[in-house]
């Protein structure tokens, strides 16, 4: 009992230790996995940001270059010829909002598509000539920071001066709508994902914001400084303005709870501009990833366990079935044995009974054989005595003779019995008249009856039927019956 309890304690302790080891290893592995996944995730986010930034840069640069080439190659052509190229450029490159030509007086003389061109608009008259002036004076392409379009939304204005030698002929203005860029490069990044993408220029002004459309055009840094919160994000924004790239974490202060956000940022460089793309996703994304990894592992593990358990259960079932079959067999064999034993016991009982009957029979036979012998022996010994009277001598001799007959009959009976037992008794079946049988028997037993002064009266019905049987044996049966009757009839006169 005590040993059993000790064993249980030992098993319990071993179990606890094993569980502890497994838990420790699990935590350690979890930490490593988390770190690895985090790292991978960050790199992936950064790659996404870099790709988007590169795309934007090249896209914008390409468009500037096209207009510059036009301005340089067609500088000696007529204005009409120059503007005639606007349509194929617009249609062949996609991405321009409109392309316009401003003459030396600062008046918009042509634009494509024409419905978007404010023909007759005078940059001097509207007091918006500074960029026009600097492009003309510096003889260089001017791209001011993005400003609002008449039709709404932000746009980038590309001012390219056209000089024929030293002669200023005007400015080609290409307008690229910011939404064209962001729709192409930034919006697809966040499809079917949580988090958002934003794009700022080097002043911290929002060019695109995936979640807060209202913030587009406003300056994040100014906004953050005003509310004086989100210092960690402000730091990131400053990094972005400086044109660096990387990943960082900041705490987003939401309406209900704060959540950690991972920001991957990469600079967009085109001409003198430095913009920055930021991809901000909740840190819980990483947890989601890890969880999905674990979920897959769990599915694998549970499948394996289910297979193992199923297999074991099948084996157990199979063995228990075997066991049951064996048990049933043993039981049936036991039943058979019990039955056989009972039968043997019964047979033994019968044999004992038979044995008892046999010994009783032997005892009886020996008594029956000895009785006439005793009579003969005593009679003979009486005869041997001296001076025996004549009458007594006769008496003794008749006793001897009678008993010899009796003994002979007895021996014959025994022989018959043994023949019956061994099946060697031969019966001769013939038609036997019963009155003949009885008459013969009476004739034989008559002397014995007379000796005891017993009268034998025979009354037979007339026309007694004949039977089929052994005449001799039947007669013997009747004789025996009458002899017995005579023997056991009391002697009246003793």
């Amino acid at each position: 009992m005590k040993v059993k309890r000790d064993n249980r304690l030992v098993i319990l302790v071993i179990c606890i230790i094993l569980i502890g080891i497994v838990t420790f290893l699990g935590f350690k592995t979890h930490g490593e996995v988390e770190e690895l996944v985090q790292q991978q995730f960050n790199e992936q986010q950064l790659l996404l940001a870099r790709q988007a930034a590169l795309g934007i840069g090249e896209f914008a640069d390409e468009r500037v270059t096209i207009i510059e080439i036009l301005a340089r190659d067609r500088s000696e052509d007529s204005i009409d010829n120059i503007t005639g190229c606007f349509k194929p450029i617009y249609e062949g490159t996609s991405g321009f909002y409109s392309i316009e030509f401003i003459d030396t007086n600062g008046v918009v003389v042509y634009g494509y598509p024409e419905y978007r061109a404010p023909i007759g608009y005078n940059v001097y008259a509207e007091n918006r000539s500074s960029v026009f002036g600097s492009a003309r004076d510096l003889r260089e392409t001017e791209i001011p920071s993005s400003t609002a379009l008449f039709e709404g939304g932000l746009g980038s204005f590309i001012w390219v001066p056209v000089y024929e030698g030293e002669e200023f002929r005007g400015v080609i203005l290409g307008i690229i709508r910011m939404s064209t860029i962001t729709d192409r490069f930034l919006t697809p990044i966040m499809q079917n994902r949580t988090g958002y993408v934003y794009l700022i220029d080097r002043n911290g002004k929002s060019l695109y914001d995936g979640t807060r459309r209202e913030a587009i055009g406003k300056n994040y840094i100014k906004m953050l400084k005003e509310v004086n919160t989100n210092a960690s994000w402000l730091e990131i924004l400053n990094e972005q303005i400086n044109g660096s790239e990387g990943t960082a974490v900041y705490l987003k202060e939401g309406d209900e709870s704060n959540s950690e956000q991972i920001v991957a940022y990469a600079p967009v460089r085109w001409r003198d501009k430095i913009w920055s793309v930021g991809i901000s996703v909740p840190a819980s994304e990483v947890d989601h990833l890890i969880r999905s990894v674990y979920a897959k592992q769990m599915i694998f593990l549970s499948t394996v366990i289910a297979i193992i358990l199923g297999g074991s259960f099948g084996l157990i079932l199979m063995f228990s079935r075997w066991n049951k079959t064996l048990e049933a067999e043993v039981e049936s064999k036991t039943c058979d044995l019990t039955r056989t034993n009972e039968e043997l016991a019964q047979a033994n009982e019968r044999l004992k009974e038979l044995d008892k009957l046999k010994s009783e029979f032997v005892s009886m036979v020996s008594h029956e054989l000895k009785t006439p012998l005793a009579a003969m022996k005593t009679s003979a010994q009486v005869l041997e005595l001296a001076d025996v009277e004549e009458a007594t001598q006769q008496e003794m001799l008749s006793i001897i003779t009678r008993n010899i007959d009796r003994q002979t009959n007895l021996v014959n009976d025994l022989l018959d019995l043994s023949r019956v037992e061994s099946g060697r008794l031969e019966l001769k079946f013939v038609s036997v008249a019963l009155d003949t049988v009885i008459a013969d028997s009476i004739e034989i037993v008559k002397p014995a009856a007379e000796e005891k002064d017993i009268t034998l009266n025979v009354e037979l019905p007339a026309g007694l039927a004949s039977v089929k049987g052994d005449s001799e044996k039947l007669t013997q049966v009747v004789i025996n019956l009458i002899f017995n009757a005579i023997k056991f009839t009391p002697c009246v006169f003793g």
Partner: protein, 170 residues
């Protein structure tokens, strides 16, 4: 009228009047003269009286003759109840008792005789064809004085009878 009491009355009459004739006694007791003669003969018999009990007449008869020749007074019975009756009326000096008897077997007869105070002193020799030791033991245990198996030697039986009588003689 009981046989025993008739004997007693004859004895009583003769004690009072020794000169009474057989006919006078027969007259007084309302019995025949022959019976009186027989009774007186029996009463005056001084020989040792042996009762032989056997249902086989052929066994009984030679034994009776032999013992009579030996000078014993022999009376006989052919079944158990008969034997008990004979013992009560005749009061033998010895009983030769067969075991296989009709109505009441030898063991029972022996047992009853040995249990009754009046007859317990009478010696009994068992006489039987059954020779098994267990039978002998049972016979001796219930009070038989000797046990002889059939067929017996006449001389041996005579010797045994003498021995038993000598042993039990008063």
């Amino acid at each position: 009228m009981n046989i025993g009491t008739i004997d007693d009355k004859i004895v009583e009459l003769l004690q009072n009047e020794a000169t009474l004739s057989y006919s006078e006694i027969a007259e007084r007791l309302c019995i025949t003269e022959t019976e009186v003669a027989e009774r007186i003969r029996r009463l005056s018999d001084a020989r040792t009286k042996i009762l032989i009990v056997d249902d086989e007449l052929d066994t009984l008869l030679p034994l009776k003759r032999a013992l009579e020749m030996e000078g014993y007074n022999i009376i006989e019975a052919q079944d158990g109840l008969d034997a008990l009756e004979e013992v009560r009326t005749e009061i033998p000096d010895l009983v030769l008792l067969d075991l296989m008897l009709p109505r009441l077997n030898g063991f029972e007869v022996c047992q009853r005789l040995k249990q009754a105070e009046a007859t317990s002193y009478i010696p009994i020799i068992m006489l039987t064809a059954k020779g098994e030791t267990s039978d002998k033991v049972e016979g001796i245990e219930i009070g038989a004085d000797d046990y002889v198996t059939k067929p017996f030697d006449l001389a041996e039986l005579k010797a045994r009878i003498k021995a038993v009588l000598r042993r039990t003689a008063p």
